[in-house]
């Protein structure tokens, strides 16, 4: 068993690799390509912030100007737990740093300790990127910085072609004339670091262990790990509430439907669930929201969100205090969850209860049930202890398909009820071509789906002693 699980876990890696590669290259080939982020909400561009220059810089920062295969390589390197050192994060030996500092100390900018620090970082970044010795690069910088306005060719070291360098030259000349060499050098270093931000190379030395990193969202600049950590719990909460509910209702009604096939309960529940199943979630969500949350019709539940206004200041439990009844955080959230959970569950009843009914029927017509009945086993015991246990396999199969689809597929419900869960994260990322978030959600979604698969196979073996993987 253990070796089987291990084998399956190892197989996860190439499968995920394939999935991510397909998604990455398809996204890159889609119109708009990777990372053509929205500059501003609402379709309006902003005056005073040069959108084009900004986009070029953002592209360099997130390596979107590299060829697609190279970007995929970077991404793999980023998420891999084993990796190489990256030139922009290289830990330089003390001797190299001292050498750079010695060369730069002679420059007028060295009067300002912060500027000297920035200059040293710029030189080391360039040395790492080009692979030249730091002292040599420092010399190059020192020579070029004698006339900062003429020093723009230094950007060639980082293979950066700035848009409209004339503006920068003009500005540096003005600073040279008005404020002297020191300030102009400081300015140039800031410009250099800004333009070459994100440029780095992988140093192919000995690989080491590192923390896997899901990257950064282009739109908000926040780590993807944090975004997933904020969204996933909300999706899991919705699942934890709706899955047991689906199963409870479907199992009970399925079992009782199987007891008298063709009976009143069987026909009625079947028709009712089928009717529910044929209502699209979008329609149901909008109808529920319109009729059950609006003062115009009936205001029973909160309109949207997971918490009401002022929930963060509430006590946890409901209480009767000075101002009458306070619903408290828990009850407030429960009220908010009723409609979304309803929308997530009602369609699941139909399929599951039918499947339950089918496998129960099969079990009930088998020999051992007849024997048990003849032996005089009580009816509830017969149903639940004997027949039910033998018909759970299809339920397990369904579960492994339901979980992943509920986590990513709750987009509509999340959008209607303003719950920022995984589905919304994925769709927003795809819409904005935010590569790291798209890839992370594929990775998380794929991982959950495949773990569910493994879990299902293991559960088979537990539920049915006939299944064995030895």
């Amino acid at each position: 068993m253990l070796s089987y699980i291990l084998r399956r876990l190892l197989l996860l890696v190439p499968t995920l690799l394939g999935v991510t590669a397909v998604v990455f290259f398809v996204t890159a080939a889609s119109p708009g390509g990777l990372g053509n982020i929205k500059v501003r909400e609402g379709g309006a561009l902003n005056q005073g912030m040069d959108a084009r220059k900004q986009l070029e810089r953002t592209k360099r920062r997130y390596r979107l100007d590299l060829p697609t295969y190279a970007q995929y390589g970077w991404w793999l390197h980023q998420i891999s737990p084993v990796g190489f050192e990256v030139s922009s994060r290289k830990a330089w030996p003390e001797a190299d740093q001292a050498a750079v500092r010695a060369v730069l100390a002679g420059l007028p900018l060295a009067k300002d300790a912060l500027a000297l620090d920035d200059a040293q970082k710029a030189v080391l970044a360039a040395a790492g990127y080009t692979g030249k010795p730091p002292a040599e690069v420092a010399g190059q910088f020192a020579a070029a910085l004698a006339r900062p306005s003429q020093a723009l060719p230094l950007l060639d070291l980082m293979e950066v072609k700035p848009l409209a360098p004339e503006d920068e030259i003009k500005k540096l000349e003005a600073i040279e004339a008005n404020y002297g060499l020191g300030k102009a050098q400081t300015e140039f270093i800031a410009y250099f670091r800004g333009e070459s931000d994100g440029r780095s190379r992988i140093l192919w030395d000995a690989p080491t262990f590192k923390a896997p990193d899901l990257g950064e969202s282009l739109g908000s600049g926040r780590p993807v790990t944090a975004l997933v950590a904020e969204s996933l719990p909300k999706s899991i909460l919705l699942n934890l509430l709706s899955l047991p509910l689906i199963y409870l209702v479907a199992i009970i009604s399925g079992v009782y439907a199987a007891r008298r096939p063709g009976g009143k309960w069987d026909v009625a529940s079947g028709a009712f669930y089928m009717a529910l199943w044929s209502v699209p979630t979008l329609v149901a969500g909008c109808l529920l929201q319109t009729f059950l949350t609006s003062e115009k019709y009936m205001r029973v539940f909160p309109t949207a969100h997971l918490h009401g206004v002022g929930a963060e200041g509430m006590a946890f439990f409901p209480s009767w205090g000075a101002g009458g009844f306070h619903r408290g955080w828990l009850l407030d959230m429960a009220a908010c969850l009723v409609l979304p959970v309803t929308c997530l569950t009602y369609q699941g009843f139909a399929t599951l209860s039918r499947i339950m009914r089918g496998s129960m029927l099969e079990a009930l017509s088998s020999d051992y049930i007849r024997t048990a009945r003849a032996k005089g086993v009580a009816e509830p015991d017969l149903l639940w202890r004997h027949a039910f246990r033998n018909s759970t396999l299809p339920l397990i199969t369904m579960l492994s398909g339901l979980i992943p689809s509920l986590i990513g597929g709750a987009v509509i419900v999340e959008a209607i009820f303003e719950i920022p869960g995984m589905g919304k994260l994925m769709v927003d990322a795809a819409k904005n071509n935010d590569p790291d978030v798209v890839m992370a959600s594929v990775l998380v979604g794929g991982l959950i789906a495949m773990l569910c698969d493994i879990g299902r196979d293991v559960a088979y073996a537990i539920a049915d002693p006939r299944v064995s993987y030895e």
Binding site: G32, N36, A44, G48, D50, A164, D167, G221, S294, I416
Partner: protein, 635 residues
């Protein structure tokens, strides 16, 4: 397999029950602590306010001998009533809070209450400087304060945190004298160090703020000379330098230096300043997805804000936002143009008494133009695939403008919201030449111009051709997400077809469209630019911006270039505005864009609020709304 409830089962059940009871008890205990913490916080707030008041009185005491000597008529002693000394204007000097003091004097004025707003987006970040969506500014404006602010009526700069300022003759240096006694929302004083720190943070290459770096590009150094004097040095004279230096919200050095740059870039909620409101909970612990709650800053250095709390909730689902507005959960609703007639009819029905329980009973319909609303336009690309396009000819562009019935589109598609634009400047801005009229809708004159430019119907099929027989056909790209824009483009397409021009509508996803614009891979494009009180047209219309900037249509006019270059360095506002008006005329004549519409905001505000004044720039000043003492009308 006989099942009996044995000792083991009994033990386990008991254990489970006692565990659950214990957990519940722990939660009850936690609730009690929670209440205690609340009480302590409330007490702390009132102590903060008392301290600020004491500090004020001390300052007034130390200033009195001087004031008394200068003005013997000045009465001594201050009343201890609500607001006390805070409610009174300073004896001398400019008072940045004159508007608020007017509100204080209203007979029904009262402190307290909460405003709840609904945002159409999810706030992704509140940390200032680092990029986020526009609504971050709305929150920021209540928490951070700049050195100067614009007068609400004249739009001239007025002292705020800075008491006075001086711009050197060459425009390269600006010196600010800061007001004494300004504090951040933890009681820490705001000094010149904080101002210098704010700009150092922006200039730090590791801070992730590409757009702010571009805005403050010309600042060479910001030096604190003493605790209350800051000197800004600029690389070149520029007319927006004062705005750049004086309009930036000041960050607290003692608070922000707790966070290393990498953490500053990544943490979403780091919003802390000297404004009338502050975050109600620890800013470092704020997470996106639940909106934001602000509370009155108990340490505020000016007169305190009327409202206790400002809560902003997020509604990306427009239906949910409207339902919650109708339920009275949120107090504010921005009406999209397509819903305007319906809502207007509903509000007016109540006014006439037809529907006494309707929307109009509770809300007030307001429409206003803000100076940063910007304008929508169609840009005519003068280069198609590196070769001059038909739009390279000024006459063709003028004709295109005259073929588009913008007034009718405004009336019938946008329900009369907004105005037909004449140029890139806001109508209320001093840069705008208000005498200019928009080009008329005049197809005969347009066809005559086109004929002059070589486009006429040569083979009688109803479509214009040039000399070589090529049909006049172009593709207009636009964001396809907005229904109004889509309908407008269909309307324009039909209008052009009637005059013999074939327009292919090309609705695109915004990121795709942006990519096409940046690679100049479009024939004509419809978009919108955001605006501000004073804008710099260089980024969009100067010929240097064809290669490096946002002059996407490849428009170039040497006369305009020279004028822009000249106006940007002119520090005298009157001379400069005369030049901008000339630019406006040139752009209206050349029509590099067909300027479509200026925007207009239509909002519904809950009637229970008083002191609501439409903003000239930006957003409403929510903390300065107030709830009257005896609530009139429905609450």
């Amino acid at each position: 397999m006989e099942n009996r409830f044995g000792f083991k089962d009994f033990f386990l059940t008991g254990l489970m029950i006692s565990l659950i009871v214990l957990i519940v008890l722990a939660m009850v205990q936690f609730d009690r602590q929670w209440e205690q913490v609340h009480a302590i916080r409330e007490e702390q707030k009132s102590q903060g306010e008392t301290l600020v008041e004491l500090r004020r009185q001390l300052q007034a005491l130390s200033a009195r001998p001087l004031a008394a000597a200068a003005d013997p008529a000045q009465p001594a002693g201050a009343s201890g009533k609500a607001g006390g000394i805070l409610a009174e204007a300073p004896a001398s000097g400019f008072d940045p809070f004159h508007a608020l003091r007017g509100i204080y004097k209203q007979p029904d004025f009262a402190f307290g209450g909460q405003y709840t707003g609904g945002l159409p987006v999810q706030l992704k970040k509140l940390t200032p400087i680092v990029p986020s969506d526009g609504y971050q500014r709305l929150v920021e404006g209540m928490v951070l304060e700049p050195l100067l602010q614009r007068n609400a009526d004249t739009l001239a700069w007025e002292p705020y945190i800075a008491e006075k300022w001086e711009v050197s003759k060459d425009g390269l240096t600006i010196t600010f004298e800061l007001r004494k006694g300004v504090t951040f929302s933890d009681g820490h004083p705001l000094t010149a160090e904080d101002v210098a720190y704010t700009f150092a943070k922006i200039r730090d290459p590791e801070t992730d703020c590409p757009d702010y770096k571009a805005l403050f590009d010309k600042i060479v150094a910001v030096d604190a000379k003493g605790p209350y004097r800051v000197v800004f040095r600029f690389s070149e004279p520029y007319f927006k330098s004062l705005e750049a230096a004086g309009g930036m919200g000041i960050l607290a050095k003692h608070w922000y230096s707790k966070f290393p740059t990498a953490e500053f870039n990544r943490t979403p909620g780091l919003l802390f300043g000297s404004g009338p409101m502050r975050m109600a909970s620890d800013p470092a612990a704020w997470k996106p997805g639940n909106g934001v709650t602000l509370e009155r800053n108990p340490w505020y250095w000016g007169p305190k804000a009327p409202l206790d709390n400002v809560v902003l909730r997020e509604y990306q689902n427009a239906t949910a936002r409207e339902v919650d507005f109708r339920n009275g959960i949120i107090d504010f609703f921005g009406v999209p143009p397509e819903k305007f007639p319906e809502i207007k009819a509903e509000v007016e029905a109540t006014a006439k008494g037809a529907d006494p329980k309707g929307l109009g009973k509770r809300v007030e319909l307001r429409r206003y133009t803000s100076l940063d609303d910007g304008y929508a336009f169609i840009g005519w690309n003068e280069q198609w695939g590196g070769k001059p396009s038909p739009f390279a000819d000024k006459r063709v562009r003028q004709a295109m403008t005259m073929l588009l019935d913008r007034e009718r589109a405004r009336r019938e598609i946008f329900n009369g919201v907004g105005q037909v634009a004449t140029g890139p400047f806001e109508v209320a801005s001093p840069q705008c030449d208000k005498t200019l009229k928009p080009w008329p809708f005049d197809p005969p004159r347009a066809l005559a111009l086109l004929k002059e430019a070589g486009w006429e119907d040569r083979d009688g099929n109803g479509i214009l051709e040039d000399k070589s027989g090529r049909e006049f056909r172009f593709r207009l790209s636009y964001p396809g997400a907005n229904e109004g824009v889509v309908r407008q483009m269909q309307f324009f397409r039909d209008g052009l077809r009637r005059s013999g021009i074939l327009m292919d509508a090309d609705p695109l996803d915004f990121p795709v469209l942006l990519g096409k614009i940046n690679s100049r891979d479009f024939q004509a494009v419809s978009l919108a630019w955001g605006g501000s009180v004073e804008t710099d047209p260089r980024q969009i219309f100067h010929s240097v911006s064809i290669k490096g900037g946002d002059n996407n249509v490849g428009y170039s006019n040497p006369k305009l270039d020279a004028l822009i270059d000249q106006a940007r360095v002119e520090m005298d506002a009157d001379k400069r505005n005369a030049m901008w008006k000339e630019c406006h005329r040139i752009l209206a004549e050349d029509q590099p864009y067909t300027f479509l519409f200026t925007r207009e905001a239509i909002v519904l505000v809950n009637k229970r609020f008083r002191g609501v004044t439409d903003p000239k720039v930006g957003y409403y000043n929510y903390p300065y709304f107030y709830l009257p003492q005896t609530p009139a009308g429905a609450r």
